[in-house]
């Protein structure tokens, strides 16, 4: 065996670490390459409301010393404006040569990848959904269980969303809800039979956010700093898995590098890496290469290696955002609380399609995020927000990924062009969802504010998948049930790119479980060959 490493894993996000753990634990010599960007803006030291009231330097984490939030004024989500999360997205498209054409293309070069700035939503695919994957459902179930135990998930409950989210056995209890969500759930429980008959169900969100300490990660203390940076490690980031990997002598980390090219040579595969921009170049050989760079970056590497110029379809969830007002809670005092999803809903729409979403507290989001969109002058918009927002919650909504007509292709210079728009069915479905949500929430005492329901910009979900789908009998550019790229034996795809479906529900846990499954299979396989 002459290769530098047995396996090279590209990317240190949720997929990268999930696949690396079984490989490293299996004793294989693993190199992990990642962009290596790390946080630069320290999170607030005290809870959000205390920091707001007392910290004269709060602009540093709210707007940023370089005025990041202002420069990102037109970005699709508040998390793209949060200075403490700027590093997560910084330089991804530029350094990876990814270009947008009417479609948002966002990714990460950070250690831990996009999981440094995610909503922490986790869900398992249902039996029906698993049936669409080209392997036995039991393989995924075992991996779901392993990953869930490792990352720590809160929200255990036998509520109406239990089936939707999947097996709750390993979960921690939920993080306490705020008053508004408590009331919503209470009202829902009174009317659940009728609402379920209409295809609407509501329950606690299942989140990779701790309600009890796990090793050195601390439980949520309701500080409300989720958006601006949690200093407790409550929210799972793949970064948290790196220290345990580093304890193994057979694990090597190469941080601050992007993969530039993949070539087959005598020793297996040769991976060329470079520093961001135009810097140092190095190359390493390995028997196997596992791509976990994120759907967009992974797809570009594969299409370039295959020299495939045809465009490929990509899955991406259409999104919407809305605001609910609870009139009975008017004048509620603002209290520190959890900033991510507290309640999640699923609602059936036409043609067997279902929408999924969660609702959040408005505390912890800047009011100026709202005043810009209120059809009033800012001065009075602030007055309105001050009076109204403490009795409001905001929500998001996702539709299944196949409803977006997105495509990716490689241009003459080897760049990846991401383009697309929502399919024709999205507008009527969004309209139907709005009406259903309005009715459902009205019956539990919340008014969906009429002008608040906004359909998001295509690609703004940052859930990209399915460009190199796993198939029983993969064609060129597709992948085997173990993610191995057809035409590139020994190169595996373990991130969103290999998922053949992207339902409305949160998909990160599925990516991680699949990466674990593939990593485990490769580890077993390579060990067998050795002996």
């Amino acid at each position: 065996m002459t290769a530098d490493f047995e396996v090279i894993v590209v990317g240190s996000g949720p997929a990268g670490v999930s696949t690396a753990i079984p490989l490293v634990e299996g004793g294989l010599r693993v190199l992990m390459v990642d962009g290596g960007k790390g946080p630069g803006v320290p999170p607030p030291k005290v809870d959000f409301l205390s920091a707001r009231a007392g910290d004269a330097e709060q602009w540093k984490w709210m707007v940023g010393k370089d005025f990041h939030a202002l420069n990102m004024r037109d970005a699709v989500s508040p998390k793209l404006r949060a200075p403490s999360q700027a590093y997560v997205f910084d330089g991804f498209a530029r350094d990876n040569q990814i270009y947008e054409e009417g479609f948002r293309a966002i990714g990460s070069l950070a250690r831990g990848g996009l999981s440094n700035a995610w909503g922490c939503g986790v869900a398992q695919l249902s039996s029906d959904e698993l049936a669409e994957l080209p392997f036995a459902a039991s393989e995924m179930r075992a991996s779901y269980a392993r990953v869930s135990q490792r990352i720590g998930i809160s929200g255990r409950n036998d509520d109406d969303m239990a089936d939707y989210f999947g097996n709750d056995k390993f979960l921690q209890s939920p993080i306490p809800m705020d008053e508004l969500h408590t009331r919503l759930l209470h009202q829902y429980e009174k009317r659940r039979v009728k609402l379920r008959a209409h295809g609407f169900k509501l329950g606690r969100s299942r989140l990779a956010a701790l309600s009890a300490d796990v090793s050195d990660r601390q439980a949520c203390n309701l500080s409300g700093n989720c958006l601006f940076g949690c200093s407790r490690g409550t929210l799972y980031s793949a970064m948290h898995d790196l220290p345990s990997l580093r304890k193994h002598a057979n694990f090597t980390e190469l941080s601050g590098f992007l993969v530039d090219g993949l070539n087959r040579d005598n020793d297996g595969w040769r991976v060329t890496v470079k520093t961001g921009g135009h810097g140092e170049r190095r190359s390493f050989s390995a028997d196997k290469v596992i791509l976990a760079a994120g759907t967009l970056a992974t797809t570009r590497l594969v299409l370039n290696a295959l020299n495939q110029r045809q465009s490929l379809p990509m899955l991406s969830n259409p999104t919407a955002a809305f605001m609910l007002w609870l009139p009975s809670m008017l004048g509620a005092k603002r209290l520190p609380g959890f900033g991510l999803g507290q309640l999640s809903f699923a609602t059936d729409l036409r043609d067997g399609i279902s929408a999924f979403g969660s609702t959040f507290s408005t505390t912890g989001i800047l009011i100026s995020e709202f005043t810009r969109h209120i059809p009033m002058s800012r001065r009075y918009g602030v007055d309105l927000s001050k009076g109204l927002l403490s009795s409001c919650v905001v929500g998001n909504l996702f539709l299944p990924g196949q409803l977006t007509n997105a495509r990716v292709r490689i241009d003459g210079g080897g760049s990846l062009i991401v383009s697309g728009a929502y399919g024709d069915s999205v507008a009527p479905l969004m309209d139907e969802a709005r009406k259903k949500l309005r009715k459902a929430y009205w019956s539990i005492g919340a008014l969906l504010l009429p002008s608040s329901y906004t359909v998001g910009i295509p690609g703004g979900d940052i859930h990209y998948a399915g460009t190199l789908p796993m198939r029983d009998k993969p064609a060129l550019g597709e992948t085997s049930p173990f993610g191995e790229v057809k035409g590139m034996d020994g190169v595996y795809v373990v991130d969103g790119a290999c998922l053949p479906t992207l339902p409305a529900k949160s998909h990160t846990l599925t990516i991680m479980a699949n990466a674990d499954r593939i990593g485990r299979a490769i580890a077993t396989n390579l060990r067998k060959n050795c002996f």
Binding site: D55, W59, R73, G331, R334, S377, R378, D383, K386
Partner: protein, 428 residues
């Protein structure tokens, strides 16, 4: 590359002229008594008191003569200073260089001070060889040097300032504007030889000049006491020559005797437009930042319904400098004085086109920066304030009433508003 020899290059005006000339890509030779170590200019020995022949570089294109005897106690006499100028003019002629002489507003054959009379004599020498003469008004701005430095320090120290009666008038010119004027004469090929008077075309009283120094440069208030000029003249006459010179009272006397210069035509010929006094007195040489601060203050006060902190305003200025063009928007004055009136401009379809994307960017910047302060937490979140359904209802009712009111006003004033905004934009 134009080679320019500048005498008095280390002085108040000379140093600014040197910097500006180097910035413009001119080859500068600093001519002075003491060796000058400048990374981008060379040096030539020149002393007004020396009787030696001046040896200019052969390829000299222009000589700008700024050096003058401003210290009272040295051996150089009046004729000596004129003789030095004559030698310099001869050297310039030999090198085939243009000769530009910086004179004074007081230059006159019968000037009350020796200074004014010497300037006049050198003017005659310069004009005789078809040179150029520049008579500046009251030079100010930049570093606290020269007469300007003396005046600023005096205003700083004295709680009471003299208001001379009858009031003498001065015609201020910023040191950089003067340097620009000298450079234009140096660079311009076809420009008639003669006397160029450079200074504000509208004279202002000396007391207003001091008052503006107090307000714009020092940010303080000063009181004034009347001093009849007759008294000073009498006092000066009684003191006699040596004391007069030692106390610098000659300068004061020339102030009382300043002839009003007609400057508009000369400024026009050089294409020179002088910055406003208020702007020029700012240490940075312009009041761009001050205008941005004023804009940020109005936008933030509009959103906050109260005064923003200084720190917040500084951040606004820096944000506009870092992320935008760093210039103010030229909002009509009424919006700056009465921020609430900005309600007329905030949101509305035709405003998007009239005000442009930039206005709304700045509005959002001011809003976000105002929110990101402890005061903002109170205003935006109600932190530390009463809460309850009644408070909330009042806040909502207040919001709706305000919105409706300003929308109605907007309907009535929109034709005027459009006119006013278009004019303000066109003014740029």
């Amino acid at each position: 590359m134009i080679k320019v020899v500048i005498t008095g290059a280390s002085g108040y005006i000379g140093s600014r002229l040197t910097s500006l000339a180097i910035e413009r890509g001119l080859d500068v030779v600093m001519a002075s008594r003491q060796q000058q170590a400048h990374p981008r200019a060379s040096w030539l020995y020149f002393d007004l008191a020396s009787r030696e022949v001046i040896d200019l570089p052969a390829d000299t294109d222009v000589v700008v003569h700024l050096a003058a005897n401003t210290t009272a106690s040295n051996s150089l006499d009046d004729d000596g200073e004129v003789a030095a100028a004559q030698r310099l003019i001869r050297a310039a002629q030999q090198a085939g260089a243009k000769f530009i002489f910086l004179s004074s507003q007081t230059a006159r054959v019968d000037a009350p001070t020796a200074y004014g009379r010497i300037k006049w004599r050198i003017e005659q020498e310069a004009l005789a060889v078809e040179g150029w003469v520049v008579r500046p008004g009251q030079v100010y701005g930049g570093e606290l040097r020269g007469l300007y430095g003396t005046l600023v320090r005096a205003v700083q120290k004295l709680p009471l300032l003299p208001a001379f009666m009858p009031a003498p008038f001065v015609q201020p010119i910023h040191v950089d504007d003067l340097a620009e004027g000298l450079l234009r004469i140096a660079e311009r090929g076809a420009l008639n030889s003669g006397v160029y008077c450079l200074g504000s075309s509208v004279p202002i009283s000396f007391s207003s000049f001091l008052a503006e120094i107090a307000k714009s440069r020092l940010r303080c208030r000063r009181s004034y006491f009347p001093v009849p000029v007759v008294v000073i003249n009498l006092f000066v006459a009684l003191l006699g020559e040596p004391w007069r010179t030692r106390l610098g009272l000659d300068r004061l006397r020339s102030l009382f005797d300043l002839p009003v210069m007609t400057t508009a035509a000369d400024l026009d010929q050089l294409g020179l437009s002088l910055r406003p006094l208020m702007a020029g007195l700012h240490p940075s040489g312009d009041d761009r930042r001050r205008r941005l601060l004023r804009e940020g203050k109005a936008l933030a006060a509009y959103v906050l319904k109260g005064q923003p902190s200084n720190g917040m305003l500084r951040r606004y200025v820096r944000a506009v400098e870092c992320s935008r063009d760093g210039r103010e928007l030229r909002l009509p004055g009424i919006f700056l004085s009465y921020p609430i009136v900005l309600s007329l401009l905030d949101k509305g379809s035709w405003l998007e086109a009239t005000m442009g994307e930039e206005f709304f960017w700045r509005m959002d910047a001011a809003t976000m920066l105002a929110e990101a302060t402890p005061t903002g937490a109170g205003r935006f979140l109600g932190s530390g304030q009463r809460h309850g359904s009644v408070t909330s209802m009042l806040s909502i009712a207040n919001a709706l009433a305000g919105e409706v009111f300003w929308r109605l006003v907007r309907v009535f004033v929109s034709p005027m508003l459009r006119h006013c905004l278009t004019r303000a934009k066109g003014g740029g």
